[in-house]
């Protein structure tokens, strides 16, 4: 059986009693996790501002700190100082409780997200299942917020959130199952360790279907985080601000922080499931770094970098795409992602049955016939996609092109 | 107060079940009744798991039963809510005692 508190054991040794372990767990994990969540939140918000600004041909915050790096801190202070308004006819208890529920729902997900080799709160042997289970807790907070606000727009926002989160859990779960079937374990650490070695060992490249699973997971994750183009629950042009219309000050900041923390969680999970976790993908490099403290530090750097890259992709998408409509959101989930998710699951297992991946070579190796075949298929798909894209660009609105050439 | 044994769990389950009965009997809102039903189902499921744990920990029957109970509870909730929505559409009420058009 895996030890639940790896770092606690590391700090306290084996002889500590339960009370010491419990308090130790809180001290060792709760403080760093909360600190990390806040740091992720601050950094992501700053990143979002800068990325959006550069996408939109402007600079973004420049005044507070170098390149506006402290702008978010300043905003946090401002939000702390703001009046905490509770609407007159709101359900006061639920209204106060909702942001906490949303934040707690997000932060419990961090319990099984590894920050590096050995840097995990609890390596549950059903870690992936746990993630799927707690993934919807934030939605409960959002629903509570929408209801408690006693505002019709908020109510619409929370009904939309309920619809969306419950629906997109299914394709997300299918992507989880695809990887779990390949890995043969639900433990996050176990899944990462399966991807040791060269980059070809990453589950993303394991077979062509895991590519599809990754895309399905990422789309579903966008919907779970309520990020554009799935930001229907807070659609500012339709529902004013959706579920957090009535929130101000610190309560609003907590929703904000929860959203960004959740973005990080889903990205870190994507890194763990598909992108080799804390492995660099270059077998000799991993071998050279080795285990121990150096491995821990480098591994943490690698996985956090991968996660933040995926967070940046989420931001990129947000500032590029319009919002889809409610019925289109359901269509995408029920008629596109779910059938594809099921096909992915079946296809991936069938592929693995007939073309099993070779036993993982821990150091070196990895480029096998299977990998080559994957490469061929991926290249073919890529070519088709590229041709389709070029064609669509060429065919784009001929009359306007004609007009601008005349 | 000895170590936590089977009886402790059974008492909790019994209380839950009785409270579920109370909710079902006193409430008139169909969704509240559904909540009471969920309480009762959970009490039963808790009993199953407890019996499994303390009766025959080497087997999985109780837990498997609980899995089935959860599945059925989910199915039940979905069906009831669909019916409630439909009743609300046609009769504009979710009170179980006001839905009596089949009485006469």
């Amino acid at each position: 059986m895996t030890t639940p508190y790896t770092l606690v054991d590391w700090v306290l040794g084996d002889g500590a009693g339960w009370l010491a372990r419990f308090i130790g767990a809180i001290l060792v994990w709760a403080v760093p996790i909360t600190g990390f969540v806040s740091f992720v939140g601050l950094l992501s918000i700053w990143l979002e501002r800068k990325i959006s600004a550069h996408i939109q041909c402007r600079l973004g915050p420049m005044e507070v700190g170098p390149h506006g790096a402290l702008q978010t801190v300043a905003d946090g202070v401002k939000l702390l100082a703001k009046e905490d308004i509770i609407p007159a006819d709101a359900d006061r208890i639920l209204f106060a409780f909702a942001p906490m529920l949303a934040f707690a729902g997000t932060i419990v997900g961090f319990a099984v997200v590894p920050f590096g080799p050995g840097l995990i709160v609890a390596d549950l042997d059903i870690g992936l299942f746990y993630l799927a289970a707690v993934g919807s807790l934030e939605a409960i907070g959002v629903i509570a917020a929408g209801w408690a606000s006693n505002n019709k727009w908020s109510l619409f926002g929370s009904v939309r959130a309920a619809t969306q989160v419950v629906s997109y859990e299914i394709p997300m779960g299918l992507a989880f199952v695809t990887i779990a079937a390949l890995a043969g374990t639900l433990s996050m650490v176990g899944i990462v360790e399966q991807q040791q070695g060269w980059i070809a060992n990453w589950f993303l490249f394991r077979n062509p279907f895991t590519w599809v699973a990754f895309i399905i997971y990422y789309i579903a994750a966008l919907a779970e985080c309520k990020r554009a183009p799935f930001d229907l629950p807070e659609a500012e042009s339709e529902l004013v601000s959706g579920f957090h219309t009535e929130y101000s000050g610190m309560r609003f900041a907590i929703f904000f922080l929860a959203e960004y923390a959740q973005m990080y969680v889903v990205s870190a999970v994507a890194a763990v499931l598909f992108l080799g976790g804390w492995y660099t993908g270059i077998a000799p490099l991993d071998a050279a770094i080795g285990g121990g403290t150096a491995g821990m530090v480098v591994g943490a750097g690698v996985i956090v970098t991968k996660s933040f890259l995926l967070v940046c992709v989420q931001m990129w998408l947000r500032w590029t795409l319009p919002r889809i409509r409610l019925d289109q959101m359901m269509y995408l989930c029920l008629k596109v992602l779910m059938p594809f998710g099921m096909l992915t699951l079946v296809g991936s297992t069938v592929w693995e049955h007939f073309l099993p991946s070779p036993a993982i070579v821990k150091d070196g190796g990895g480029w096998t016939g299977n990998t080559v075949m994957t490469g061929v298929v991926v290249a073919a798909i890529g070519t088709v996609a590229l041709v389709a894209y070029v064609r669509s660009v060429i065919r784009a609105t001929p009359s306007l092109r004609a007009a601008s050439n005349s | 107060m000895g170590p936590i044994g089977l009886t402790h769990y059974l008492v909790v389950a019994a209380l839950m079940f009785a409270l579920g009965v109370a909710v079902v009997l006193t409430r008139r809102n169909a969704i509240a009744v559904l909540c009471g039903l969920e309480l009762m189902l959970n009490a039963a499921a808790l009993n199953f798991v407890a019996f499994n744990r303390f009766g025959s920990p080497e087997r999985m029957d109780g837990q498997v039963f609980t899995v089935f109970i959860m599945t059925l509870a989910a199915a039940e909730a979905a069906t009831i809510l669909a019916i409630v929505l439909n009743i609300y559409h046609s009769m504009n009420t979710v009170r179980v005692d006001e839905v009596d058009s089949m009485k006469e």
């Binding site: 500012e236 042009s237 409509r325 019925d327 289109q328 784009a396 609105t397 | -």
Partner: protein
């Protein structure tokens, strides 16, 4: 996914089924009503059963003002009508006053400057319409792109007349100030700059699959309905009717320029849907650019305002009606003068007012998100609706 949202009453859920109806106040403070516009929506879940528009939150007695201040001062108030196309408003009102004078000749140079300004202003206005429309659909970036380009036009206007929004530049008899070579060079620069930029909007919005799916087949405005409501401008042309006063009833010197009139073709969905209205605006910007280029190329030297109109304007007794193709439709001014220095009566026919009046007709049975898309595609300016 692209199921057409028809506007026929039978397509809307029948109202005698008692279901979860909700009255929703969209506005007057709502991000997507483009000002203080209020729509009361009766919804069934997310589906709009009925909507009722309420206007008047921005009423400022424009017509009454015109009866109490001089003609020149009235031009100032026309700025505030459709504040995104102030040049067009100035032009329309000035032409209405000029028409009260028999055989008044407007100098050629003034006419050219007027056309250049009006068309540049049309581009600026359409840029804002497109940008905010993208925002209504949920894409924030196109808005910033549009503002980047609109900013260049506003800078040109600033150098021309010192104002960025309410220009008060086109006046009866000509324009307020002359333009010099540096301004003409700036306009030429802008033309060269803007032409390739138009492709960016296509890349960001027009060809974006989500955008197309959000706008195509949504808010279909049939041609006959548009005509019966008196809809004009891009919203009318989006329904496929090729009607443009610059071509059909040329005023100023528009008959000298070569340009096309883009109309909706239902290329992505049904004829007259939101996408058609949007696309007409995108294409009109290029047509306006063509007019600007031609006008800049042939702008003559000479006076920039008529010598015949000096001092306080006292138009002879009479009445005149002038309509121009403004960026939102046909803007008409009916001016009655009884020979004094103030008008006896001014009536403004504002296009936005007519365009928004059919909102409840074309939004039946759509979703709330579509409601936003429809309001955005009609591109109203409340300053003009309420006057």
């Amino acid at each position: 996914m692209n199921a057409p949202h028809t506007n026929s009453p039978e397509a809307a859920p029948t109202s005698d089924v008692r279901s979860e109806e909700m009255l929703l106040n969209m506005g007057p403070q709502h991000p997507s009503t483009h000002g203080v516009f209020r729509v009361v929506i009766r919804t069934d879940g997310e589906i709009v059963l009925d909507s009722e528009s309420h206007v008047g939150y921005l009423h400022r007695c424009f017509e009454k003002h015109c009866e109490s201040v001089s003609f020149l001062q009235s031009v100032l108030y026309t700025d505030r009508l459709d504040y995104l196309t102030s040049m067009g408003n100035n032009l329309a009102f000035s032409m209405a006053v000029e028409r009260l004078y028999p055989d008044l000749k407007i100098p050629e140079r003034a006419e050219h400057i007027r056309v250049i300004c009006a068309e540049l202003n049309r581009i600026a206005s359409h840029l804002l319409a497109i940008g905010t429309y993208g925002m209504d659909i949920g894409a924030i970036t196109p808005f910033l792109y549009c503002f980047r380009d609109r900013e260049k036009i506003l800078s040109i206007f600033e150098s021309i007349c010192g104002q960025r929004l309410n220009y008060n530049y086109v006046r009866p008899g000509g324009v307020a100030y002359d333009i010099d070579d540096s301004m003409i060079a700036a306009i030429k620069d802008f033309c060269g700059y803007f032409r390739p930029k138009a492709q960016e909007y296509d890349d960001l919005l027009s060809n974006n699959d989500i955008f197309v799916r959000r706008t195509a087949n949504v808010g279909v405005l049939p041609k006959d309905l548009a005509i019966s409501y008196g809809v004009t401008g891009p919203s009318l042309r989006g329904s496929g009717l090729k009607r443009d006063l610059r071509r059909d009833a040329p005023y100023s010197i528009y008959d000298r320029f070569k340009f096309d009139i883009p109309v909706g073709t239902g290329e992505k969905g049904t004829l007259g849907d939101c996408y058609d209205r949007y696309m007409v605006r995108v294409r009109e910007m290029i047509e306006s650019l063509k007019i600007v280029e031609q006008a800049v190329a042939q702008i003559p030297d000479g006076p920039f305002k008529s010598e015949q109109l000096k001092g306080k304007l006292r138009p002879p007794k009479g009445e005149s009606f002038v309509r121009v193709e403004n960026s939102r439709g046909e803007l008409g001014f009916y001016v009655i003068s009884d020979g004094k220095d103030v008008a006896a009566r001014v009536k403004c026919r504002a296009p936005s007012f007519h365009n928004i009046s059919l909102l409840s007709d074309i939004s039946k049975g759509c979703m709330i998100a579509d409601m936003v898309a429809i309001i955005g595609s009609l591109d109203i300016v409340m300053g003009e609706v309420d006057r």
